[in-house]
Amino acid sequence: MKLNIEQSEEYGDVEITIRCSAVDAPLRRLIEQLRLYGFAVHGKKDGVTVLIPPEEIYYFESTDGKTFVYKEKGVYECELRLYEIEERFCRGSFVRISKAAILNTQKLKGFRAQLNGKLEAQLTNGERLEVNRHYVPELKARLAEMGGSK
């Protein structure tokens, strides 16, 4: 695969063109990632609404009927429900890890098995999240897809 990047002050919006003979699975995943680039989540904190790009999001969590967006430092309330986030983001690098959490796999540092049989996901910002066993097969499949494109 060849990657050409042209940078000039003449250009306005970022434009990405893909030339290929066929769209295969790894390429489809890349396209989905690129599409995510354009999405941003509205997050509210202290009465102020900000736009949060997906690449800055570590995970989404639903607590007491409210959805929260977790960045490296800071938590924002989000108007979207978890299932809406799942529909919108889970084709990219986001994956559901429990009934109440959706994780950005780009922010994953590693996994650790716990004594109670559950898995713990360690994030790059030092946070730890519990992965429900029910969602482990999905997580494996998604990471395998991402790793398989190498």
Partner: protein, 142 residues
Amino acid sequence: MKLLRDIITGAFCTFTVLSVLFGVLCEADVLVNLPYTQVVFTLLLMSAGTSAFVALRELLLPQAEKLKYAIELPGCTFIILMTVHFAGWLELRAAYFLLVFAMVLVVYLSVWFLTWLQSKHDEDYLNALLSRREKPDPDSEK
């Protein structure tokens, strides 16, 4: 829903284990003179007691995942032994009490060990996938 599933699974597992125990004791001519219906009723009573205990723990201490085995194992064993004792139908001696306890212990530890083994395997597999994952090289884009 999860609670209901836990109760049914708990009841089924307990009944299965106790049925095996019953079979072993019958084979050893220990229970040969006991009426079959009374034995089955006692086994059902034990299952119900165990399930009730599991349900109670789930209701009272829903977040106590780490204490799960520590609480349930002695709790369930205690209920089983008390049911046997108060039912008075199975004239179990201390050795059989120990046998019941040992069986419950084995079942719980086996379940725990298998679950832990599976999560350990998942941990290795997922970490391997993570390390294999393609990471963007910032130098190549410059």
